[in-house]
């Protein structure tokens, strides 16, 4: 049965109008789930498209992309003995959840290195382009790049994490015509060729953002990771209307003029987050298509997770590796490559939706880009809901201006002390004073960004940079500006109130509270995400 399902053409996304016969709808709820019945007659559910088929022969597709690049010479023609080659790659934040082995980065980098070996290139460095994210552990690097690459380069210190705070490790490439500083990792900047290997999970990723952000430092990032940029990106998932990307593209022009030659390799994956078979397969099925087996496995999983402590639940989900399949690979010059990549991402994610809604509901899952192998703290809950999910639109937001977002997540008052030390201070000290992103930016950003202890932890431990919680808060600035109210169902009331949101015990309560803002009998839209979808709102 599963085989038959995989063999037929994948169905596009769906907008379901809820009626009396609609079954309860699945809401992700951190490391758990809720089944919620939405009001009939005024609710709709947006389902993602089914996973597109993966490339039949990914290795051959990668080789073909490297030998027939867009607006560039073939990769072997760019390689020569005695050259300085740097390969930069996306960090632990992509894809989500981490994918099963072999990771796409391993597939691509092995082929790049094989061509470099054929050309006799000796001076090769590999850099995790993590900007101000936490460093990747050896195990995480092994998973992303495979044993062979890790064992060949890590022992010689030729495989390492980007360090944006290394005083000798960064160079200034220039300024844009908007007076934006452009910095880059010294090794990458001084290379004869920089190969960037990317995984595009959402439309925001890739392009000049890979190098202009991934290999930069705080002084360069602050030109686009700020409240003004976020509030003027409608949305940052839609590059032509994203101020974030416009700034990155301006910095890209400087890199093109003063930086190393770049050979960009971008890949896309399908929506196969939970698999066609297996224990989590039910999570990417539409509720009315759940078989008896699906229902039994869901109930068993639900009951088991409820009986387990949160840390154990995190452990269970943390071990899940998504069976993503590669749907495209393109290589060559940054702009044409990214155009093709974005088209492939949108082919999987876009779901046409007619009109806006009064109330937008979303079930937030256990993972976001910044808590892989870590804890989903309240700031990341805000970032995932109001930053990522809210901005997954093209055209106009799914919810009308002044509308309400209802998020479902436990929102526990807990932090990973190693990964998110500055988050703790941000949450406990700054948010107690104000939740206004602009005020936080003006008063405290520089202090956190230059704090020596946070810099030390970023460089030597596995901590996100001191300024990172600010960026997470800015990520939701557009939503905070747009919305009339944010309600969190099932969250820790103290943590929810600390962020300026309202807690609710049940969805019914939340809808009742929402009617205070948007009036009685509001229209409701639920985004059935993940797997990822992007609303194309007309």
């Amino acid at each position: 049965m599963a085989t038959e399902r995989r063999q037929r053409a994948p169905r596009p996304g769906l907008v379901l109008d809820v009626d009396r016969s609609t079954p309860p709808i699945l809401f992700h709820h951190g490391e758990g789930f809720r089944l919620e019945r939405l009001p009939a007659g005024r609710s709709r559910v947006i389902y993602p498209a089914e996973p597109l088929p993966g490339l039949a022969d990914p290795e051959a597709a990668i080789r073909d992309a490297l030998l027939n690049p867009l607006d560039s010479d073939p990769l072997p023609a760019l390689l020569r003995p005695g050259m300085k080659l740097t390969i930069a790659f996306d960090d632990i934040s992509l894809p989500l959840p981490p994918m099963r082995r072999p990771d796409i980065r391993q597939r691509v980098i092995e082929q790049v290195l094989d061509m470099a070996a054929a050309a006799g290139v000796d001076d090769v460095h590999l850099i995790a382009a993590l900007a101000l994210h936490r460093r990747m552990t050896d195990d995480e690097l092994r998973h992303a790049l495979g044993e062979r690459v890790f064992d060949a380069f890590a022992p010689q210190d030729a495989l390492y994490n980007h360090d944006a705070e290394d005083p000798d490790g960064m160079v200034v490439l220039g300024r844009t015509d908007h007076d934006e500083l452009v910095t880059m990792n010294r090794r990458a900047a001084e290379s004869d060729l920089l190969v960037y290997v990317n995984i595009n999970l959402v439309a925001m990723d890739g392009g000049w953002k890979s190098t202009a952000t991934g290999l930069a430092d705080y002084w360069s990032l602050r030109h686009h990771h700020n409240v003004h940029t976020m509030e003027h990106s409608r949305s940052f998932m839609d590059r032509p209307r994203s101020e974030l990307h416009r700034s990155n593209w301006r910095q890209g022009e400087v890199i093109k003029a003063n930086g190393p030659p770049i050979f960009q390799i971008e890949t896309t994956v399908n929506n196969n987050t939970f698999g066609h078979d297996g224990p989590l397969a039910v999570l990417q099925k539409r509720e009315w298509e759940w078989s008896a087996r699906d229902r039994a496995s869901f109930m068993a999983m639900h009951a088991g997770l409820k009986a387990m402590p949160p840390a154990a639940c995190r452990g269970v989900f943390g071990r899940w590796l998504a069976p993503y399949e590669m749907t495209s690979v393109q290589a060559g010059a940054v702009e044409p490559v990214h155009e093709s990549t974005t088209a492939n991402v949108l082919a999987q994610h876009l779901v046409p939706v007619q009109g806006q809604t009064d109330v937008l509901t979303m079930g937030l899952p256990y993972i976001c880009p910044y808590n892989v192998n870590s804890v989903m703290n309240p700031i990341l809950v805000m970032c995932l809901g109001l930053g990522y999910f809210f901005n997954l639109y093209r055209g106009q937001p799914l919810v009308r201006e002044g509308g309400v977002v209802i998020m479902s997540h436990p929102t526990r008052w807990e932090f990973h002390p190693v990964h998110h030390p500055s988050y703790i201070d941000f949450f406990e000290q700054l948010l107690a004073e104000t939740t206004d992103p602009a005020e936080l930016e003006a008063k405290y950003e520089a202090q956190f960004a230059t704090d020596e202890w946070y810099v030390h932890l970023y460089r030597t431990s596995y901590a996100y940079h001191g300024v990172h919680p600010f960026y997470m808060w800015y990520w939701g600035a557009h939503a905070l500006q747009w919305l009339g109210r944010v309600i969190v169902v099932g969250g820790d009331p103290r943590a929810v109130r600390r962020m300026g949101f309202q807690p609710a015990s049940t969805l019914s309560d939340a809808l009742e509270m929402a009617s205070d803002v948007v009036g009685p009998s509001p229209t409701i839209t639920h985004v059935h995400n993940p797997p990822i979808l992007m609303a194309d709102v007309e």
């Binding site: 022969d57 990914p58 290795e59 082995r101 072999p102 391993q106 290195l113 094989d114 070996a117 054929a118 006799g120 000796d122 090769v124 495979g146 044993e147 062979r148 690459v149 064992d151 060949a152 380069f153 022992p155």
Partner: protein
């Protein structure tokens, strides 16, 4: 005398009566008949060697039994003796359906090591090409090899159509084949030239060949020794290979040998250095230098441990 005498039981000194001696003392019909002169007796139906029937070992009950042996005592034995370090299984991610696993061969421990290293879904649906003259020399040995390893008889002394047809038929039925293209264990620690069997079956059946390099097993139980010694072994899986258009088996066999040679280099150094040498055709050879015996041994260097012979402190007097 009496009854004992009648039965042919003869007491010689203090020795106990022997049934075999008793039987030998009797004549036909207790013993096999002698053949009259000028008569050519019909050739007995051979049930050993390449004629050994292994079909029963691929039935459900035998497979369950073998799976229990492989995952139980065999895995434990391999872990104790070889402490294996397995790499490259991720290269099989895109492999679908049966394959020919082709490995170099140093030791009897190679087969248990590989049977516990080949990943699912191939591990429990694989047959092992085993020398018909060695493993199927008697019915008891053949039955043991077929049950424990899933062995099938392969003629190595000559090109045999029977064993090739058997292996090809099994591959067509969805079974994978583990084969040692060198034709036998290394006699001196160096490898031997690859024969064309794996390549031939790949071309004939249209399935890929997975090159495998096994290292370190010669130190555990090399040819000529009977007692194993624990040592560390490596198993390195290579990228599945398919014959190119119009490529013939000998040429493909040569490529398989090159791939195993590159894997050997990768296992002893690192992947990128090995790739550079492979592209520059300087990976070395599995078979070692073509020089005198002592120089071949010398060139092995640390690759082979010299057996420890305990010298007597006092001469025998």
């Amino acid at each position: 005398m009496g009854i004992a005498h009648d039965l042919g039981v003869v007491r010689l000194g203090n020795r106990l009566p022997s049934p075999i001696r008793t039987l030998r003392a009797r004549s036909f019909p207790y013993r096999a008949p002698t053949v009259p002169g000028g008569v050519e007796p019909p050739e007995a139906l051979r049930r050993t060697g390449v004629d050994f029937d292994t079909g029963w070992s691929r039935r459900w009950a035998a497979r369950m039994c073998r799976a229990a042996i492989v995952e139980g005592p065999m895995r434990a034995m391999v872990q104790v003796l070889a402490s294996p370090h397995r790499t490259g299984t991720d290269r099989l991610a895109d492999l679908d359906g049966p394959a020919v696993f082709a490995s170099n061969h140093h030791s009897h421990i190679d087969t248990p090591l590989l049977l516990t290293s080949i990943p699912e879904p191939w591990r429990h649906k694989v047959v092992v090409g085993a020398a018909s003259d060695y493993f199927f020399g008697s019915r008891a040995a053949g039955a043991t090899a077929a049950l424990v390893m899933g062995a099938i008889p392969i003629e190595r002394a000559r090109v045999g159509r029977r064993s090739a047809d058997l292996a090809a038929g099994l591959i067509d039925d969805g079974w994978s084949l583990l084969i040692y293209p060198e034709g036998g264990r290394s006699p001196d620690g160096w490898g031997q030239p690859f024969r064309g069997g794996a390549a031939y079956l790949s071309v004939r059946c249209g399935v890929p060949v997975v090159p495998i390099h096994v290292g370190g097993t010669g130190s555990i139980l090399r040819k000529g020794r009977t007692m194993p010694q624990p040592a560390e072994a490596t198993v390195t899986f290579g990228t599945p290979m398919r014959p190119e258009d119009d490529e013939r088996a000998p040429r493909f066999a040569s490529r398989i040998e090159d791939a195993v040679t590159a894997l050997a280099d990768e296992a002893s150094t690192d992947w990128y250095s090995a790739r550079k040498r492979a592209h520059a055709s300087t990976s070395g050879t599995l078979t070692g230098p073509e020089v005198g015996v002592w120089r071949r041994q010398w060139a092995l260097g640390g690759r082979r441990r010299t057996p420890s012979t305990r010298s007597r402190r006092w001469p025998d007097l």
